[in-house]
């Protein structure tokens, strides 16, 4: 039994028995991650009719996504796996979305805030552009790609995890994928007198 968690856009959780999705709970609210994370997880477990002890793996959506919300899901996933002493795996949301578009050249694009985008490019399912940050203007460099929305949820994360693990793809990294350093520069002392 796999519990998938994702807070890259809304807040969602899903339970999978192998490749079968037993439940899926999603809160669309883009700002209510801390409020909704427990309700989503609890709801997904209840809807699937299982107890936490039935779980054998936690699949965590790593982003890239707006950081504040993203971290809530990653934190919950790590805590869940720690508390239950079961492994956790991490899924890059752009990869999970791309799995739905296995044919042709596809550029998965998600909002990165500050007028930037998170992107990753795929050709016939194989990654050709790694997850990165791009400006709207830079999208022109990928004019031969079909652009698809990078909006992800726990259903896609779980599906991808089941598939990737069957392909022996390494998902051991569960850290949040930020792709940018914290936006801060060391302050210089200002004079207070003229």
């Amino acid at each position: 039994m796999i519990l998938a968690i994702d807070t890259s856009s809304g807040t969602s959780a899903a339970v999978f028995d192998g490749a079968t999705r037993l439940s899926f709970i999603n809160f669309d609210d883009r700002f209510g991650h801390a409020e909704n994370i427990g309700l989503a997880i609890q709801g997904a477990l209840t809807e699937a009719g299982i107890v936490p002890a039935d779980l054998t793996l936690v699949a965590i959506g790593r982003g890239p996504a707006p950081y504040t919300g993203l971290r809530v899901g990653v934190a919950a996933g790590i805590a869940m796996s720690t508390a239950l002493e079961i492994p956790a795996c991490g899924v890059i949301t752009l990869n999970a979305v791309a799995k739905k578009h296995p044919i042709g050249k596809v550029l998965v694009v998600a909002d990165a805030k500050r007028k930037e985008l998170f992107i990753a490019g795929f050709e016939d399912g194989a990654q050709v552009v790694p997850p990165s940050v791009a400006t709207h203007q830079e999208l022109e460099n990928y004019s031969d790609f079909v652009t698809v929305s990078g909006e992800c949820d726990a259903g896609l994360i779980g599906e991808y995890a089941v598939w990737a693990l069957s392909q022996k793809i390494d998902l051991t990294d569960t850290s949040a994928l930020y792709l940018r350093s914290p936006d801060v520069t060391p302050s210089v002392g200002k004079r207070v007198t003229g």
């Binding site: 909704n36 994370i37 427990g38 309700l39 934190a75 801060v184 004079r191």
Partner: protein, 493 residues
């Protein structure tokens, strides 16, 4: 039937009933008076057209146990389950106070009482010969074990990831990961850096706390988490984690106030937090003066900083003096060699005109500017300044204003107790002056050990435990981060 706590005003009725029930063996009025006035005793009375029953409990802090002092029911009211109700009052109180056992003595021939206590779970552990005088009757010593809740607390309001574990009032673990070093190059806490560090520290800090307490997650009874006040992004990491921990083991979760946690920390040090108390909480994020009459129900914000927190002022002045972050320890060290009276820096919001609206508020922004101005002026004039003198004079101004207002709060509110909390308590001069001024004013000063003064998970767990011990319902799963959570809101449901 009405139950309430007894006071000295009830003494005449109490003595009438005592003398009626225990002729020849009754307690003296003076003994009862001191029991009713005692800090560590709790007496309950049952009333129905006057006093018809009473019971008393003694709980010495840090002994983690309570003793039943007496339990009596008027002859006319016996056989109605009143003794059981009073005994349950005492047990609830013992539970709420953090006791892990309740002891009592009962006459070996008092079969009704012995069977009542047995049915409540008391077990016979000893016999005291000739205990009751003058009859010479033996006493049976009985004991009720209380399993206090084991609570894991999560703290992530600022730059410390804290996971603490308590059992009732007992501290079991206080694991901490600080991201302070990562903020050093920025000269202050950077929210995004702090939030990232929390996420990374989560797993190892939880593991460390469980290891220190020698427990597994399945032995935890409840989760507590600070949901404010603090940095929103940082708080949300702790909340996400705490909710998952709770769901994983089907545990109740308690969303608690970080600032009240600082007051509750003294429970872990002292076995109890003596109330009422004025609390002065000083850190890089807060400078708050509280009046705490009840840890769970009556916390009042008397005043707080209207601009910079005291710890922030230390950081900013350190930067002016070319010292690294965090500024507090640096300035403290430098100030040791300086003259605190060398420069008279301003005491914010301390003028008579400030007393109406800002008597207990603080302002450190003007002080920081005054220090910068002093340093710049000297440097422009090509003069050498004594950094130790500046550090000592600045530190003196901060300490002076903090303690003047705190002690004024004690006096105005008639509360002869002051509790210090927050990271700035590490400041040697603050502790020293607090001691001197409290001694002068006859105020009892409480300073928990430093690891309980700075942000930590154990103090959050402690508030969670207090809520459980007092029989409060857990929070729902839908609470969020409240970066400006008011101190009056001890628990978010």
């Amino acid at each position: 039937m009405e139950f309430r706590e007894l006071t000295v005003a009830d003494l005449p009725e109490l003595m009438r009933l005592e003398n009626e029930l225990f002729p020849g063996e009754a307690w003296k009025e003076d003994s009862f008076r001191s029991e009713l006035e005692g800090t560590f005793t709790d007496y309950f009375g049952a009333f129905e057209d006057g006093l018809v029953g009473y019971a008393g409990l003694s709980s010495v802090p840090a002994s983690f146990s309570s003793d039943v002092q007496t339990l009596a029911v008027a002859s006319s009211s016996q056989g109605k389950g009143l003794g059981r109700m009073l005994a349950n009052k005492l047990i609830s109180k013992a539970l709420a106070l953090g006791s892990e056992a309740v002891f009592l003595e009962v006459r070996v021939d008092n079969n009704a009482a012995i069977s009542l206590y047995s049915s409540l779970g008391f077990e016979q552990i000893d016999v005291r010969k000739n205990y009751y005088q003058p009859s010479g009757m033996d006493a049976l010593v009985m004991r009720l074990g209380i399993e206090q809740p084991v609570v894991l607390g999560v703290e992530s309001t600022c730059d410390e990831t804290g996971i603490g574990i308590v059992k009732g009032n007992r501290l079991l673990a206080n694991a901490l990961h600080s991201s302070m070093d990562e903020h050093a190059k920025f000269g202050g806490v950077v929210p995004e850096v702090a939030a990232r560090a929390h996420l990374e520290a989560l797993k190892p800090t939880i593991a460390q706390a469980l290891k220190d307490a020698n427990l597994t997650m399945s032995q935890i009874d409840a989760i507590a988490v600070a949901n404010g006040p603090g940095l929103a992004g940082a708080l949300m990491v702790g909340i996400g984690a705490a909710k998952a921990l709770a769901i994983a083991h089907n545990l109740p979760i308690y969303a608690v106030n970080h600032l009240v946690g600082h007051v509750g920390a003294d429970v872990l040090e002292n076995g109890t937090v003596s109330l009422p108390t004025i609390a002065l909480l000083v850190s890089g994020g807060h400078t708050s003066l509280l009046l705490v009459r009840d840890l769970l129900d009556d916390v009042e914000l008397l005043g707080e900083t209207i601009d910079d927190a005291a710890g922030e002022a230390f950081d900013k002045v350190a930067r002016v003096l070319g010292l690294p972050y965090p500024g507090g320890p640096q300035i403290d060290k430098l100030a040791e060699a300086g003259n605190p009276k060398a420069i008279r820096f301003p005491r914010g919001l301390s003028l008579p005109k400030d007393m109406d609206s800002h008597r207990f508020d603080f302002s450190f922004s003007g002080l920081k500017t005054a220090v910068a101005r002093h340093v710049e002026k000297a440097s422009d004039a090509g003069l050498e300044i004594s950094k130790p003198d500046v550090a000592a004079s600045f530190r003196e101004a901060v300490v002076d204003v903090l303690l003047t207002k705190a002690i004024n709060a004690c006096e105005i509110h008639g509360v002869k107790r002051l509790l210090l909390g927050g990271g700035v308590v590490a400041n040697a001069r603050l502790r020293q002056v607090a001691k001197i001024r409290c001694d002068e004013a006859g105020i009892e000063l409480r300073i928990p050990r430093f690891s309980l003064c700075t942000d930590n998970g154990a103090m959050i767990a402690s508030i969670g435990a207090q809520l459980i011990m007092a029989g409060r319902p857990p929070s729902g799963l839908g609470f969020g981060a409240e970066s400006t959570l008011e101190v009056t809101k001890v628990q978010t449901l």
